[in-house]
């Protein structure tokens, strides 16, 4: 177990190193010039050059990257070009909001997705199953900003059940979390349906029936724990897909998270913030996957960590 974790952590560090390098190179070759953004349109060539030197952007790529990495190792993610504040402080102030939204989103997608998937599998081939699968298809295909605006219009503007946007109370969380979770719930309902159908035709389900167990017990004790196994690995991967959704949903609902921060930074070519958000997201994805892999052996005794 300890050896396994150690190896996985080393792997994770290598992955993050790779991500940081690729992102750094991509931002370097970007045609947009951050110095122009900082200096403003009216700045002279001399000012621009000064700023460039100050920020060290006149150095070769590898030197710049080496400097960034050296800072990163000491926990220094640099300062925002425009706001002049520490990137780590900016991210730290916004991370709780994002984590809350993510937790809400994952909760929604699993609750909706898994429930509908199980129901569809139980009613396989019947109208209810078909209706649910069409719904899931719509959920997967609908763009998140459309879903978000639709929910806002109906439940916030028309019915007034929830606030229109912002952050602070549980009521603020509901609509963004559902918006974030809907797309995933479509995926999960489909996966859970096929996983359940597969499990329900296994021999041990027949054994359970032959023992004279009730339907409810067969479902909860024998079918569900086995059907959920392939889903767990998906949740780890899913966190990566979530990051894209966060940028959209946080903008639509005015949610003060790192998605919004990233969006603003991209518009202003604020490279340290873009790098910082990317690194934090990549860390989240790597941790999510690691967590999924660590949890699986506890549910499936056949899998051993090595």
């Amino acid at each position: 177990m300890a050896g396994y974790l150690l190896r996985r952590v080393i792997q994770a560090v290598l992955i993050l190193l790779g991500v940081s390098f690729i992102t750094f190179v991509l931002l370097y070759v970007l045609p947009a010039d951050p110095v122009r953004q900082i200096a403003g349109r009216s700045a002279t060539a001399q000012t621009v050059e000064n700023i460039r030197q100050q920020l060290g952007l006149d150095q070769p790529l590898l030197v710049q990257y080496g400097r960034y990495l050296a800072g990163l190792v000491q926990g220094d993610m640099g300062r925002s070009y425009l706001q002049r504040t520490e990137v780590s402080a900016l991210i730290a102030s916004r991370l709780p909001a994002t984590l809350l939204l993510m937790a809400g989103g994952i909760f929604c997608e699993l609750l909706i997705g898994l429930t509908l998937g199980v129901i569809a599998a139980m009613f396989r081939g019947r109208p209810l199953d078909q209706a649910l699968m069409v719904t899931s298809f719509v959920a997967v295909s609908a763009p998140q900003f459309v879903v978000g605006l639709l929910l806002l219009y109906v439940f916030a503007v028309q019915l007034g059940w929830f606030p229109i946007g912002g952050y602070g109370t549980f009521a603020h969380l509901v609509l963004p979390a559902i918006t974030l979770g809907i797309m995933g719930s479509g995926w999960y309902s489909r996966m859970m349906r096929s996983s359940m159908i597969e499990v329900l035709r296994q021999d041990y389900i027949r054994t359970a029936r032959a023992k004279g167990l009730t339907r409810a017990r067969i479902l909860t004790r024998h079918a569900l724990p086995n059907a959920i196994l392939p889903i767990i690995a998906m949740i780890g991967i899913d966190i990566g897909i979530f990051m894209g959704g966060l940028v959209v949903v946080e903008s639509v609902f005015g949610w003060p998270g790192i998605g919004q921060l990233a969006w603003q930074a991209i518009q202003r070519v604020d490279i340290p913030i873009i790098m910082g958000v990317t690194m934090v997201s990549a860390t989240a994805i790597v941790l999510g996957n690691l967590l999924a892999d660590v949890i699986t052996p506890f549910i499936d005794p056949r899998i051993k960590m090595r």
Partner: protein
């Protein structure tokens, strides 16, 4: 003397499947009685409706299959009249069932203890602890070693035989009046089969349960059943006392079925003419080892090593059938894989005089021309989306032999030769029966005119009548194409009927090797004797010695890294009959 009322009375049972509006009977007008303490075998080949009958009794038929007429009266209750909620309390308590596949019949993510106590508590108002006590008692009853420890184990930690014992414990924990055993020993090794069948008989005497034994194996029928129902294509063709049916079968189908059953001792009648020893054997294995490293320590290094094959030496002469027998995990299939280069090996393997070690990719491809394989499951061995003609011609394409039209002609010829017609070449695997599919696999193996064909349990999945025909085909082809066979099987009766020489393997090593007559006529190693002793004999009048052995963990060829396995030194008893010393752990 008046007979007591039957426990179970099945009258004119018809079970039908509804497929796209068409209703087709799977079982028609089946009637039989079963008394308490009696064992009734329902015997038949695949598609005879024997398993459907058992599922109908349990009320576990698939959704589109229903009982369309008839009665099944168990202790005064007609099971056909019960709905799901009325049937459920009977399942497990009154009627219990054990299934063919012990590997998949237990929930992989729950402990044995949880699954056992759950079965008990579904019917008896017991506390968790009381149910646990009852469960341990049930495990002890099926003679499972260390029952307390088993309670905390998961299914994958137990061997197949142990899992089937758990299934039996689960089925009998509540002392049901009727136990249905659907092919309970088919997936098990012969020695384990022997133990499980005896266990069932002993438990029946203790509990007085009636048993319905569903089986395809007439040997099992002869050894266990008081009465037998023979079924064919959904209909009963014969019913009677087992001794009567075996002594004087009335129906022609029963006679054919009994005639097709491979019997130990029948092989000795064959002319024993060994092919002369050639200068260059088709295959020669010298001190071959195959090891698999498993486990991982802190640094990710393996901790254990499976000695799957440990120092095996034998050769196969041209035109000879060499048998490799032993139980699951003895390494017989691993040898086959090593022979075609599918697993890395140590030691020396020569095919047609050429060493397998250090071959280039091209050299390995050339070896494949000489060695071909026919596997156990023909459905799995054929690409479902490839026309069977293309599948048979594929080896020719891979090796760049002939033009398209030459290949077509050769494929057509092969189809004719294995008893199919060339116009079947454009069909897909699912359109054929199991026996036909295996013929296609044989044709594919023959396409390159190999020197050696490895038959890895090639007839094990086939019905006996089909099995007999495929074996006859293999025998004909041997003479015609001058091909040698490496015949791998767990079925001693089949092996005796086809091989010239054989080796008996145990835990990766050969314990005895010799000609068919030497091994079957004069088995010297205790393991060989035990294997032979365990083979079910299709003769109900034969009495056999009890065979008691508590089931603990079976011995394993796994050792810690660095730890050596004791190598068996074979001694020659004369005439090439090699035997390992008896003291084998």
């Amino acid at each position: 003397m008046t007979m007591p009322d039957p426990l179970l009375s099945v009258r004119d049972l018809t079970v039908s499947v509804r497929d796209r509006g068409v209703v087709k009977p799977l079982v028609s007008d089946l009637s039989f009685d079963l008394r308490a303490g009696e064992t009734l075998a329902i015997a038949g080949e695949s598609g005879s409706g024997k398993s459907i009958t058992s599922l109908a009794l349990m009320g576990l038929l698939p959704n589109n299959v229903t009982v369309t007429s008839g009665q099944m009266v168990l202790g005064g209750t007609d099971l056909t009249q019960l709905n799901e909620n009325q049937m459920r309390p009977l399942r497990g308590a009154q009627v219990a069932m054990i299934f063919q596949e012990p590997m998949t019949s237990l929930n992989p993510v729950q402990t044995i203890g949880t699954q056992l106590t759950e079965a008990i508590r579904a019917h008896e108002p017991l506390s968790r602890n009381q149910a646990r006590v009852a469960a341990i008692a049930a495990l002890r009853q099926v003679r499972l070693a260390e029952p307390e420890r088993r309670m905390g184990q998961y299914p994958h930690e137990l061997s197949g035989g142990m899992r089937q014992r758990v299934m039996i414990a689960m089925a009998l924990a509540l002392r049901p009046a009727l136990l249905i055993a659907d092919e309970p020993t088919t997936a098990l090794d012969v020695t384990v089969q022997r133990e499980v069948l005896e266990l069932l008989r002993d438990l029946q005497q203790q509990t007085g349960a009636a048993i319905i034994l569903i089986t395809h194996d007439m040997g099992v029928v002869a050894e266990t059943a008081d009465r037998v129902v023979v079924m064919q294509a959904g209909r009963m063709v014969e019913q009677g006392r087992t001794t009567d049916v075996f002594a004087a079968p009335q129906a022609e189908y029963t006679r054919d079925l009994l005639a097709a059953v491979p019997r130990l001792g029948a092989g000795a009648a064959r002319a024993a003419s060994l092919p002369p020893k050639a200068l260059v054997p088709v295959a020669r294995l010298v001190d071959v080892k195959v090891h698999f490293d498993i486990g991982a320590n802190f640094l990710g290094r393996p901790t254990h090593r499976v000695h799957a094959v440990e120092g095996v030496t034998f050769d196969i002469q041209p035109g000879e059938t060499f048998g490799l027998v032993g139980e699951s995990g003895c390494g017989k299939s691993t040898i086959a894989k090593a022979l075609v280069g599918l697993v890395p090996h140590q030691g020396q393997i020569n095919v047609d005089g050429k060493s397998l070690a250090g071959l280039t990719a091209q050299g390995r491809k050339d070896i494949c021309r000489d060695v071909q394989m026919v596997f156990q499951d023909p459905m799995a061995a054929l690409d479902p989306r490839m026309k069977v003609g293309d599948a048979v011609a594929e080896p020719l394409v891979i090796h760049g032999i002939g033009t398209a039209s030459e290949r077509h002609d050769r494929t057509a010829e092969l189809f004719r030769r294995v008893g199919l017609t060339p116009d079947q070449m454009t069909r897909y695997p699912h359109e054929f029966s199991g026996g036909q599919r295996q013929r296609i696999c044989v044709a594919r193996a023959l396409a390159l005119r190999p020197r050696l064909i490895i038959c890895d349990e090639s007839v094990s999945a086939l019905d006996v009548s089909v099995q007999a025909r495929v074996l006859a085909l293999l025998e004909e082809l041997k003479a015609e194409f001058g091909v040698a066979y490496l015949f791998i099987s767990h079925d001693m009766a089949v092996v005796e009927n086809v091989v010239d020489r054989l080796a008996v393997m145990y835990l990766g090593q050969i314990v005895e090797m010799g000609t068919r007559d030497q091994i079957f006529g004069n088995p010297r190693h205790p393991y060989t004797r035990r294997l032979l002793e365990a083979v079910p004999i299709p003769d109900p009048t034969r009495t056999r010695l009890p065979y008691l052995r508590p089931a603990g963990e079976p011995p394993s060829p796994m050792r810690r890294i660095g730890e050596q396995i004791t190598r068996l030194a074979l001694t020659d008893l004369g005439g090439g009959h090699l035997v390992a010393p008896e003291a084998v752990s």
